[in-house]
Symmetry: C2
Subunit: 445 residues, 2 copies
């Protein structure tokens, strides 16, 4: 019983399941279909089947340890009480209308918390879009098409289910996935402090991405971040100016960004300032080795974007070390007559030697990580073979910023991804990913 039931449920009850398309209890059923285990649509006023599963009248008639509650808020305490009696260890409550609304909602939520305590039941929500674990084909959410989200190695833990869902879709649109996505909602008894340790232990999760609005138990939050071995990246939304709107959303206390940034940065959490940065930084950190220092080698085939990248990195505390004499000689030999062979190295145009230049800079002992920029040219392609060999031979991050026509570089981009080289589609996105790697460097190590 407990949080792990979300990951490995032995039977799932969908309470308030419905045959009617567009209803929340129907959407939840369409998503849970992919799960390879027993699913029980529970609804005393329905009979027959929905998506091949036979309706049952009561949660007492099922053999399940996870419940997806698709009922409106006034009915939730009663339903939850029955779940507890039936021995269900974990429940997801989708409905809104609790602490985020008014006093009556707060009372309803207090009741939910009390029932959770009485039956030792782990409750996700209320007021959440749910969760998903793609590699288990487990989509415990009412959001249509969430089951299109594929498996990745970043876990999303979002205070807002909407942000968790939109982030999952944003990764999906760029051909990535998630190891897990949890929307916390009102956090009756399951919040950051409960889920971070579980995701930290999850072998499929290589980085944890947090979306924070505000939380009461900031001390526990800090404590679990301190103890986590998996890298954590965080984005804090909701400023003090918008207090009324934020409060109305999840009942979260109003806390400013700085409070979190100061407290969590000490525990090694990397802070970012947008959803896209959260996803990009998490991917970069999940997919590459931890750099030994902040020394960045920049290799660009076009100087203008190289300047933009270097500029952003400079502002974020990167160092651009001189190359070792041997590296410099190798680069000079490769780029005879070329504009700028020192770090940042600018080849002026894509060249057949571009991969060897990256290799030279990547193997330089002065360089802790490499960022590459190149506009794709059909006739040359990207230097995938050299990059694969480099990634295999050096224990440092290599980040590749792609650019070019819509269809051009996709195949080679995916090859680079497979080789552990994260790719990004705009100069500032590559730079922000490297900035996150810089922030992840443990200065005391």
């Amino acid at each position: 019983m407990g949080v792990t039931d979300f990951f490995d449920p032995d039977g799932i009850a969908v309470i308030g399941a419905s045959k009617t398309e567009g209803k929340l209890g129907n959407d939840a059923m369409t998503n849970i279909r992919t799960y390879d285990g027993d699913v029980y649509p529970v609804n005393p006023s329905s009979s027959g089947e929905v998506y091949g599963y036979e309706f049952v009248d009561s949660v007492h008639d099922v053999d399940a340890d996870l419940a997806l509650c698709c009922v409106p808020s006034p009915v939730v305490p009663e339903v939850l009480e029955e779940c507890g009696e039936a021995g269900i260890g974990a429940a997801v409550i989708f409905a809104g209308g609790f602490a985020e609304v008014d006093e009556d909602g707060q009372e309803l939520e207090d009741e939910v918390v009390r029932i959770g305590e009485e039956y030792d039941m782990t409750i996700l929500g209320p007021n959440t879009a749910g969760y998903c674990i793609p590699h288990l084909d487990l989509y415990g959410s009412f959001v249509p098409q969430i089951r299109e989200v594929e498996t990745g190695n970043v876990a999303l833990l979002a205070q807002s289910g909407g942000v968790g869902v939109t982030s999952s879709f944003q990764l999906d649109r760029e051909e990535y996935g998630v190891s897990a996505m949890f929307g916390l909602g009102n956090r009756a008894n399951t919040g950051f402090a409960e889920l971070i340790p579980v995701l930290d232990d999850d072998p499929n999760t290589d980085a944890i991405a947090l979306h924070i609005e505000g939380t009461d138990d900031i001390d526990n939050f800090i404590e679990v971040c301190r103890e986590a071995e998996t890298p954590i990246v965080a984005y804090k939304a909701g400023s003090e100016d918008l207090s009324e709107f934020v409060q109305s959303h999840t009942g979260a206390p109003i806390q400013d960004r700085e409070t979190y940034e100061e407290a969590l940065a000490d525990e090694g959490v990397v802070f970012v300032s947008s959803v896209t940065e959260l996803l990009d930084a998490s991917r970069a950190i999940a997919d590459t080795p931890t750099p030994d220092g902040k020394n960045v080698g920049v290799v660009t085939a076009q100087a203008g974007p190289g300047i933009i990248i270097s500029d952003e990195l400079d502002e974020r505390g990167a160092k651009f070390p001189d190359l070792e004499a041997e590296t410099q000689q190798r680069v000079d030999d490769l780029l005879q007559g070329i504009t700028y062979t020192e770090n940042p190295v600018d080849t002026g145009r894509p060249l057949p030697e571009f991969g060897q230049v990256i290799d030279a800079v990547g193997r330089d002992d002065n360089v802790d990580m490499v960022i590459v920029y190149e506009i794709y040219e059909d006739s040359l392609g990207y230097p995938v073979e050299e990059l694969e060999a480099l990634a295999e031979n050096v224990d440092k991050p290599i980040i590749f910023t792609v650019a070019g026509p819509a269809e051009g570089f996709e195949e080679e981009r995916l090859q680079m991804e497979a080789a552990g080289i994260p790719t990004f589609r705009a100069p500032e996105r590559g730079a922000h990913a490297v900035a996150a790697l810089i922030d992840s460097v443990d200065e005391d190590a």
Copy 2:
């Protein structure tokens, strides 16, 4: 003769044209093929044809007023002199190896400037990837596949040809295009001050996007921005810390961002802080009416992303006005029992009434512009009809932030674009686009 020859050449000479694939003189020929006019490959050491055009020995044998010079830097002055003698009014010089390199390069560039003056010849470059004008099928560049870039209503004027190219491709990947793209390079005699007035007069250009590294003639720059009627958005790259690298690139003087921002903001130029923001802001400004004030109506189907958007806008000076009594009544009627019906309006989930809620907020006289956020659901779709009607009936910007599965919303997104409603694919991108609209408001008006 002059800058307009770039837009309406009467015959194009490609000097240093080549049959050999991968050579710059061949790449330029592949791109220029689409042009509906006379093209002359000029190369005394080649004979026969390239892509169906017959080689000629000398620029004296052609009837052209634009030359694309695909020869290496040492030969450029000689070639340019011949172009002048042959009466060619405009030339593009692709080669690097001029003022950006060393003293000798500076002398070579001085010679280029002198020849330009002697023959009254407009010179784009040297050290540029060239330019393109998709609606004329005119791609004067050596960059492979640049001709895949389609027609749009934003003109890109980039100090770095590489940034011009990568920005064009970035727009292209998201199904947009450009009205024109010019990479300035070393600006022998054609820079921002010469091209902005021409783009301002261009009926196909609704916004001008600038990428700035640094320029000597900042007074002229400010002057043309002041006189332009077309909205201008600018991004300044190249900080003082990176001076050597920047200098080596275009020989641009080192100037900080603040210098430009202060001077140009007074002339109504909107400043942004990344390439993606430059493109998004330009699209938003090109496609929507100028707002009367900074009052933003926010309508979101999911509160979490709505908070992120409102948060970003709050930091950028947006105001969130109360809705008029009549609007509030209409919204309350539509959203009975819903979380938050005041501005920002949060419907909690996509609903059939969502389009009517947007309509109510959009027609409110307190609201100068509207931003919408909604995760796409297949069964509901996006409220395209309501949005089309609203866009037709109110003279204010409507911005739609899309989210959802990879393939889901594309058709409806394009319908919204066609109705003059710019769409963006991440919460912060929608917010930044609206922030640019806020910055475009003339406070003295």
